[in-house]
Structures are given as C-alpha cells and as structure tokens.
Symmetry: C2
Subunit: 326 residues, 2 copies
C-alpha cells in the first residue's frame, strides 16, 4: 500500500503505538497540538535538531535500509546530546515523504526510530508528516537534561589538557566506502556506519570527571578538533600515531590503497566523542572507561590544530565531512 | 551568491546574529552541539514540530515571499503552543536547501523567522542546514511552557460547554485563492494567509478561564471540531449562521460564486482557536476578549459534529485541509 492511500491520520494511527519508553515524565504524548512533559528539578534542558536527506545522507538498498535510516536519524541527535554531557529524554520528528512511498518502508523507518528510542529510554512525543515532491527528508529534534551549569561546551579546553577520543575513529567513513563498493564482510565498519552508538554513558562520565570541552565526531576529527581549538582559543597538538584505528579499517584502507588518515581526519559520522580534560581526571576516567585514548595535548595558542608525526609537525585544517558541499 | 558557494559554516555565521529575544533563560545558544536552556519552576514543557515544503505549502512569488515563509513556519508552531495554552520560549529549526538557492533568499527566510520570534520574545537556539536535491523543506520545532497540570487538550470537552472560535474563520483559505488568482486587493484575506497571528494571548486567557478543550484551526473548522468531538467523546452542535466570517471573505466568495462555507469548514491555516468551556466562564472571557464568538454547544454523544442551519441538522464530516492529500 502507498502512503498516499492511507492518509496522514491513518498513518499516525499506525505508528503512534509503542512510542513511550520512559512515560513517567510525559503528560501529553502524540495526538494533540503539542506534547507536554515534565522536567527534573536542578536540571537544564538540551535541545538539538538534525536532518537526513535521501540520496545525500543515505542511499536505500546500498548504504542503508529504511530501518537503518530511522535508527541513525535518532542516533545522530542522541550523539549531540551526549556531546553536551546530557541524558536524552524525548524526541519529536518530522518526515517529508514521497507520495509513492510504500507503507512497509515507512513502517520500517519508524521501527528503526523506536528501536533506538527503546534502547535509551527515550520517548517519541510528537511529529509532523507531509508529502515531499522529491526525496524523503527526515528531521528529528531531541531533548535531554543535564545538571544545571554542567553542560560541557566545545569552548572550555585549557592549556595542559589531555585531548582524547572514544573507541576508534574513521570506521563509519570506511564502512560507507565498503557499502558503496558493494563488498562483503567488514561487518565492524558497516555497523559503525549504519548503527552508530551515541556515547551517552561516556558523556555522563565526562560530566562526572569534569571534562573541560567536548564534541561528538560527526564531521570528522579534523573538523571537530578545530572547532574545539577555535572555540576555546587554545592550540591542540595531536599525535598522529596515537589516534586509535580499528584493524578492519587498516585492512580496508590497505586493500583499496587509500591513506587511512583520510578516513580518520576527513571522514564523518563516527559519533564518537573528542574531549579535553585535566591529565589526572583523564587517568581516573580511563581506569573506568578503558576505551578512551589520549591523542594529544592542549597548549596556549591561537586556536590551531597541529599533527605531530615522525618528528614533524603540520597544521591540521578543519576541512572535514561537510554535507553542505556534497 | 549561491548557498553552495558560501558553505554551511559561512551560512551559520551569517544568520546566527540577533537570534535571542529573551536571552535570560538561554545557557548555550547557536554554535555548539546542542542548545541548553533553563525552565521555570512549576511549569511543564510543551514541544511541537511542523514542516513546510516548497511547492506544496507555498509557491514563491505567488502565494508567499521567502520572508513570509520564514514567518509562517514559526507562526504555525507558535499556534500549536497557543493551542495547548502555553507560552512559547524557544525554537530550533532545520532547512533542506536547494543547491542553487540565492543567499539573499535564504537570508530573507531567516529574517521572516527572526521577525516573528522578536514579536513574541522567542529565542532561536539551534538548527541544522543540509542541501536538498529537490525543493526547500523547512522544519521548525518550538518549545513552550504552561503551568503544571494546566495544558488544555482537545479531549476535555463536556456536555453543556459553549463551543467558540476566535476572530473570523476561512480567511486564510480565501487569501490563498485570491493569491492563486493573482487578484489585487483583499489585503485582509492575503494577510490572514501570509502572516497568520498565533493566538498566544487568547490561549493564556483560556487557561485562566478554565477552558475544557482547545485546538488551533490549522486544518479547517470541520477537521478541528471533529477532533475535539472524537477525542472528548461528546457531540458538538454548530450553528452555521453563528460562525464568524469576514466581509472580505463574503465579497470574495460571491465574486467567484463559491460557497463561503467551503472556506470556513474545509479551508485551513487560519491559526485561530476553537475551544469549549462552561457558559459562565465563556461570558466572562468574552467581556475581556470581544473577538471570541460562540458557534454552538457540546452535548452527550458519540463524538460527532452536527451543523444546524434553517431548522435542519446535518453531520459535519472531518474532511478538511489535509496536506497529505495535496
């Protein structure tokens, strides 16, 4: 059945079940002019918004299924909340849907959103649905909470800070390349691209361990590290060899004879975290979260990023993943 | 200059000035991974989201300018907050922009958003910008507050309630017709279509005067009245002659020999309010807000809407303005 046959209200009825995964704070959910929810005393609210466009951010049947698209549309938003040190609580979403889209595909899109919302106890409290003359456009706005005054901005890096990242970097861009080439295997890379894990728990730990600055790596390490350097007015010196890369990414880069650092610095959509903090706090964090790795230091400067490699130091330009230029 | 030449970061820099019109509650505005804001003790939060698609919701140069589109994209969201009885506080927005769009047009779009945000003291705290392969798609998510437990839902209508609306109904659909015909004059109708006024002050008064149910009229009176009847499980009996219509709409309907009630019942985007309340409370409200008009009564029933006219009563189907079917 096509979406144009079932209509907006029929569609809302079909997807509105099973949307509350932490209902205690929801006063009014889907089905009225607006959603109403309670906030927690002593917490500030976080709001983020992110859009994915079919054919630009994903190619159905090649880089993603409709389920994956729903999952990732939410994941990228939850990652932005993790990048402030917050706990995600609710989302509202909007889809501009091609007239001839199959209901089964649209249902899969919503199942992907519900899947990740269930994992993180996030409520889907509202939405809008319109017809698109072109490709599908999905926008998710997510809300979260963080203890008052404790949100971690990109502008707080201080000279002497350790610069660190979570897990391995560049896997999502590697996975995208694998998918575009239609190659079997490389399941870790593909999963990194299709089902990124928002680093919510680590974001919360970074609040507890007093991290000074924090970004999620959505536009590549080059772009994100430069944002921290520029916003904080400090220089970051990264040690190229220290940046954690997965074995699969090394294998893939070698098999296509591509520089692995193109994925690491200029890839995107890793949704890992890059952060800076005092060395002692970092050591304490690392004992609890062994998947964080120091990749450099912050020092007084003018907001530049440098990469050290085999005794040479070069400037790292912010040129990264920029959907605007695709 | 085209948007593709200036890039995402250049564009954000160009529009991020002058976005906070009530900054006291904003901890982190545009420019980090997420926005952070404070809420007011004793208040619950409202969230709404609404999308407009070029060519479907508006035709540039015919039904709207880019400024108008920005204004209306926010207005429709503020109207949804008014329809819960709330005070709008912040918005986040996302635009999927055609590659060849002129920066001047995009700037006009943002000026329209800033204009209405300034009027209502609403902060623009975040956004996302991506390139569209097709038409422009703009999504706004708006937040607001309402005293805990006081949000007015569509489900609260009670037998004996007065059914009432604000101002006049059908003007926006009339204005759209005038614009599509390219006719001069009819400034009231055109303004109703291009610059709808979210009824925030009235929504707040409806909280104070204990209204039982409330919708904004975004999809036509037939659809909205049926939503209240169905959600509340009561019948609404509307008096056709009592529904307030503007003189301009009468003139326009006569000049094109169209039934005025096609605009009234099945038009859309009026962004006026329809509500039900106890008769005594309505009388008190009307003394303070003379632009509200009683158009019928609620009575025990099965969730139907009836229209009385010249001694006859007929069922009013919910068929209204439905963007899904355009």
């Amino acid at each position: 059945m096509k979406i144009s046959e079932i209509g907006e209200f029929g569609f809302i009825d079909a997807v509105k079940e099973g949307t509350l995964f932490n209902p205690s704070s929801v006063v009014v959910g889907i089905g009225d002019d607006g959603a109403v929810y309670k906030t927690t005393e002593g917490m500030e609210q976080i709001a983020v918004i992110d859009t994915m466009v079919e054919g630009s951010h994903f190619i159905i049947g090649k880089t993603a299924s409709w389920f994956d698209v729903g999952y990732k549309a939410v994941a990228s938003n939850l990652s932005d909340i993790a990048a402030m040190g917050g706990i995600p609580t609710h989302i509202v979403l909007s889809t501009a849907i091609p007239t001839d889209m199959e209901m089964a595909d649209l249902t899969a899109l919503y199942e992907g959103m519900k899947d990740i919302c269930k994992t993180y106890g996030v409520n889907i409290i509202g939405g809008d649905t319109v017809l698109s003359k072109g490709a599908l456009v999905i926008t998710v706005a997510a809300f979260g909470e963080v203890e008052s005054g404790k949100a971690i901005c990109r502008s707080g890096a201080k000279p002497g800070d350790v610069v660190a990242v979570s897990h391995t970097i560049g896997d999502s861009a590697g996975g995208l390349d694998v998918l575009l080439h239609g190659i079997d295997g490389y399941t870790h890379l593909k999963k990194a691209h299709q089902f990124p894990t928002p680093q919510i728990q680590l974001g919360r730990a970074l609040v507890a361990y007093r991290a000074h600055s924090l970004n999620d790596i959505s536009d590549g390490l080059a772009s994100e590290s430069n944002e921290i350097a520029k916003a904080s007015g400090v220089d970051l010196i990264l040690d190229k060899e220290a940046i954690p890369c997965s074995e699969e990414l090394r294998q893939w880069a070698q098999s296509v004879q591509k520089d692995i650092y193109a994925y690491v610095f200029n890839g995107g959509e890793d949704y890992e975290l890059i952060f800076t903090m005092a060395p002692d706090d970092f050591e304490a964090l690392r004992r609890e979260y062994p998947y964080v790795t120091a990749i450099g230091q912050a020092r007084a400067g003018k907001g530049q990023v440098y990469v050290r490699h085999e005794g040479k130091t070069s400037v790292l330009q912010p040129t990264g993943w920029n959907h605007f230029h695709r």
